[in-house]
C-alpha cells in the first residue's frame, strides 16, 4: 500500500508538542504565553494535530505494575512481545486485517524490507503469548512468524513514535496547511 502524504506541520506544532511532552496536562494559556501566541492558536493547533492522528494525549500505565491490588491480572497487560510476520505474496492485506482483529496487538507496522508486518503485543500473562502466536500462525497467508518477548526495557521515549496511521493520513489529506 502506498503511504499517503504527510500533512504539513511547522515549528509551532513542534514547539507545542515539546511542551506537552514535558506535561501533557499543561494549560494552553501557559503554552501560549511561553510561545508568544494566543491561547486560541494553541487550542486550534492541538485539535488539528489530534484529529490528523499526529498527536495523542493519553494515559499510559506502567507495565510492571498493572496488576490489580488483589494480585489477579487486570485487563491490562504485563508483558510486551514483538511479532515479526513474513507474509506470502499478495497476502499482506489479509494478514494485516487478521492481526488488527486481535485486541492484544497495540501497535502494528509494515516494514518495507520485505512483505513483513511487525506487531507489538501487550499480554496479561506468558500463557497468552503462546495463545497469540497460535492464532497468528493460523492466519491465512502467514509464511513465518517470529516472537520476541521483551525481557527488559532500557529506554522508552513516550513522546515520539510512528503513530500516524494510514487511515489518519488518508482522512487528513484534504486538510490545508496551517495558516
Amino acid at each position: 500500500m502506498d503511504t499517503p502524504e504527510f500533512p504539513t506541520t511547522d515549528q509551532l506544532d513542534r514547539d507545542i508538542a515539546v511542551m506537552l511532552a514535558q506535561d501533557a496536562r499543561l494549560s494552553f494559556r501557559k503554552i501560549a504565553t511561553d510561545l508568544g501566541v494566543t491561547e486560541g492558536t494553541v487550542r486550534g493547533r492541538v485539535k488539528r494535530l489530534q484529529s490528523a492522528g499526529l498527536l495523542k494525549l493519553v494515559p499510559i500505565l506502567d507495565i510492571d505494575r498493572t496488576r490489580d491490588s488483589s494480585g489477579t491480572p487486570g485487563e491490562i497487560g504485563q508483558h510486551m512481545m514483538f511479532i515479526t510476520v513474513k507474509c506470502a505474496n499478495g497476502k499482506l492485506d489479509s494478514v494485516r486485517e487478521g492481526l488488527l482483529a486481535m485486541p492484544q496487538v497495540s501497535a502494528l507496522y509494515d516494514a518495507n524490507a520485505a512483505p513483513r508486518l511487525v506487531a507489538v503485543c501487550i499480554l496479561p500473562s506468558l500463557e497468552d503469548a503462546a495463545a497469540v502466536m497460535n492464532r497468528v500462525v493460523a492466519l491465512d497467508g502467514v509464511r513465518e512468524a517470529d516472537s520476541e518477548l521483551v525481557l527488559q526495557s532500557i529506554k522508552y521515549n513516550a513522546a515520539i513514535a510512528p503513530i500516524a496511521t494510514v487511515a489518519d493520513l488518508q482522512s487528513s489529506l484534504g486538510d490545508t496547511a496551517p495558516a
Partner: protein, 166 residues
Amino acid sequence: MAILSEDKPQRRLKGTSLDDTDRRIVDVLMRDGRAQSTTIGEELGLSGNLVSNRIRAMDAAGLMRVVAVADHRIHGYRLVARIRLQVTGRPPIDVAHQLAQREEVLSVHITSGRYPVSCLYAFRNAREMLEAVRQATADIPGVDDVDVELINNVYRYVPTVGPLGT
C-alpha cells in the same frame, strides 16, 4: 449530581498499585487525557481535589503518566527503523545502554529473540540512517549483525501500557 466522596484512608501500600478509584479516573483520561479534574470528578462523583491529587500521586509513583505522543515527523524525523542487533563476547545490555544514550534512539529493549537488542531509531534522512548502521557495526564493540527494518506504514498505535520505569 452525585455525592462527593472523601478520599478515605486505604488499606493499600501507597503508590504500589492502582485501586478502583484510580482505575476509574484512568478510564476517563483514556477518552480525554486533558480532561479537567473537576469534570472527571463530576462524572465519577468525586471531588475535583481528590481527582487531581490521585492523578498527581499516580504520576509521582510512576504508576501512570498522561503522555503527549507526537508522530516522529512533527519532530523533523523522516524515517524510523526498527534496528536489531546480535551481540557476541559482551553482555547485550551494555550495547543497549550505549545505544540508549543517543537522542535519535527512541526505545531500546532486551528481548528473547535471535537479536537480543531491539531498538526504534529515528532519522532525519537516509544518509543518517546509513551512517548509524555503519557505526553500529564498526564502532560498538560486540555487535556482529544488524537487522534494519524501515517502518513504512502504521496501521495501529494504541499505547495503554509502557515501561514507564525505564
